[in-house]
Symmetry: C2
Subunit: 336 residues, 2 copies
Amino acid sequence: MKKLINAPEDVVVEALRGMAAAHPQHLRVDTANRIVYRATPAAPGKVALISGGGSGHEPLHGGFVGPGMLDAAIAGEVFTSPVPDQVVEATRRADTGAGVVHIVKNYTGDVMNFEMAAEIAAAETGVEVVSVITDDDVAVQDSLYTAGRRGVGVTVLAEKIAGAAAEQGRPLHEVADVVRRVNENGRSMGMALTSCTVPAAGRPTFDLPEHEMEIGVGIHGEPGRRRVPLAPAKEVAAMLLEPILEDLRTAVGDTKDVIAFVNGMGATPLLELYLMYGEVSALLAKAGVNVVRSLVGPYITSLDMAGCSVTLLRVDDDLVRLWDAPVNTPGLRWGA
Amino acid sequence: MKKLINAPEDVVVEALRGMAAAHPQHLRVDTANRIVYRATPAAPGKVALISGGGSGHEPLHGGFVGPGMLDAAIAGEVFTSPVPDQVVEATRRADTGAGVVHIVKNYTGDVMNFEMAAEIAAAETGVEVVSVITDDDVAVQDSLYTAGRRGVGVTVLAEKIAGAAAEQGRPLHEVADVVRRVNENGRSMGMALTSCTVPAAGRPTFDLPEHEMEIGVGIHGEPGRRRVPLAPAKEVAAMLLEPILEDLRTAVGDTKDVIAFVNGMGATPLLELYLMYGEVSALLAKAGVNVVRSLVGPYITSLDMAGCSVTLLRVDDDLVRLWDAPVNTPGLRWGA
C-alpha cells in the first residue's frame, strides 16, 4: 500500500488536524468528535445544514463547511458511518434555534445513525431536525451497503444549493424541500479504472484486471452494473450518460436545462476530467440538453480510485439562482 | 495504460475543448494554437501575464487564466514545450499596450522557445516582453530536461501574486520584479509514490518498486535525489521540508513568515494531502516558521503520479496583500 499516511488508525484524525491547520479562516475542527464547524458560526435564525458520513470522500463533507454551504460536517472512519453521538453533538452545536437539516447519503449505516441521532437530538435537546436522504446513483437498485439506490454526486450539489437557501433565511421545511428537489431531479453514475485501497485493509478493495473497467461502481468500490473492456472516453461518457438521461426522463419528464457535474474519483488527473467533460457536453448537446452550469473536479472521491462519475441535475431558475449564490468553503468558493 | 482518453495524440486538444466547455464564463480557447485566454480580455494599460509549458500539469497553466492571474496560457503536448509560434500568438493577443511578462518554468525546451518567442514578438509586433524564469526545486541542480534547478510549485504562487500586481496597474518591470521576488524567496521539493504514464508512451515513465518512493522527483518523473523505502508521512514531510528550509535560509536569510503550499501530483487524494499538510505545519511550528497563508491541493500535477510536493514562499506584507487580492480563475478563486 502506497499512501502518504502514518498509522492507518490515525488517518482520519490526522487529516482533520491538517485541514484545520490549512483553513483557520474557514474551519474549526473538534478532533475528539471528528466534527468540522464553520470558523464563524451562522447568525441566530439561520437553518443549520449538516452532513457527514465515512471519510475517504474528501473534500466531501468537511471541505464544504462554510458560508453558503454546510454549518458542520461529521467524519466517520474511512468508508464507515459516524456514530449517533457525533451527529447529536454536531446537531446540537450547529442549531441556531431555527432547526437543522441533515443531508444523508443513502447507505444503511448512515441512514440508521443519522436517524437515531435526530431522535436523540429532538428528545434530549429539543432541536427540530429534518433528514433528507440522497439516492441519485442510477447504477444499481440495492448494493453492498445500501437498500435502494446509493447517494453520490447529487449530495455535493444539494449541499451547495440548500446551503444557499438556508443562507437566504428560508425556514426549515423549505430548506429540506430544496434538498429533496435536488435529489429528485438529480441522477448520477460512476465508473472505475482502478480499485481504491482502504488504509486499514492495506490492499485493493476489489480486483480490476489491467484491460477492464467497472461501470456503475459505488464510491466505496461497491460493484457496479458490469465489467467491460477499456473503451475510449467517448464511449465511457455514453455508458454513464445514457442511463442517467433515461432514468431522469422517465422519472421527472423532459430534461431541458441541467447542471452537469463530472467528478473525479480521487486519482484521476484534471486533464482526463476535462476531456471527459468535453465528451459529456458534446453528448448532451446532441441529446438536446442545455448545460446551464457545470462543475468539473474531484468533489466526492473514493480514496485513490481512478475513475469518474457524471451527475446531471435538472434545474429551474430557482435552483440556478441558489447555485450561483456566493459560497465560501475550502472546497467550493465563489462570489464571496 | 488506464486512462480516460480517446486517442493519445488528441488528449491535449480534447482536454482544452472540455475546459472551454466547462468554463464559458471564464475562458476562451484557441484550439488550433492551443492557447487559453480570458473570456473577457483585460482593459488597455494592464500588463499582460502569460505562461505555459507542456500539458499534464493541470490546472497549471490554463486553469489559472482569469482576472487576478494570467491573461493567457499556452499548452504544449504532454510534457513538451509549446513551440515559439504559439507563444508569439499568445503574446501578441494578450498585450494591451503595456507589455507582457512571460513566466517560464526552467526546462531547456521552455526556456529556449519562450526566449525565441519573446524576440520574434518584439521584432515583428513591437510588444515589449520581459521573461522571468522560475527555478525553485531544491532537489537537484541539473536534470534530464534542465540546466540548473527545475521550476515547480513556486510557479503557481508567482502567477497568483504577479497577477494581482498586474491587476493593480503596476508597470511591466515592477510586475516582472514581483515574479523574480517570488522565485527568489520560494523553494520546493517533491516526492513520488508511483510513476506517471505519458499517454503517447503508454507505459510508466519510470519503475518504482512497491516498497520504495522517489524523494526529489521532478514533475515529469525526472529522477530525484534518492530512492528510499516507504516511510510515514511525518518522515516524508521532514525529508521535503528540511532541504527547503536549509536552502532558503542559506540563500535569503532568516525565514519567519511563509506561504506554505502542499501540492498533489495528480493521483493523491485530498485526505492524504491534508494529512501531509498537518505534518508540514507541525514541523514549521517547531522550526519557528510562521505560516501566514496556505494552499493545499493538486495545482501543479504530473499526470497520474501519486505523490506530493511542498513549497515554501518567504513573504513580506506586500506579497501577502497580493496573495490575498481577488482572483477569479477555474483553478484558484476567491474574493471575486
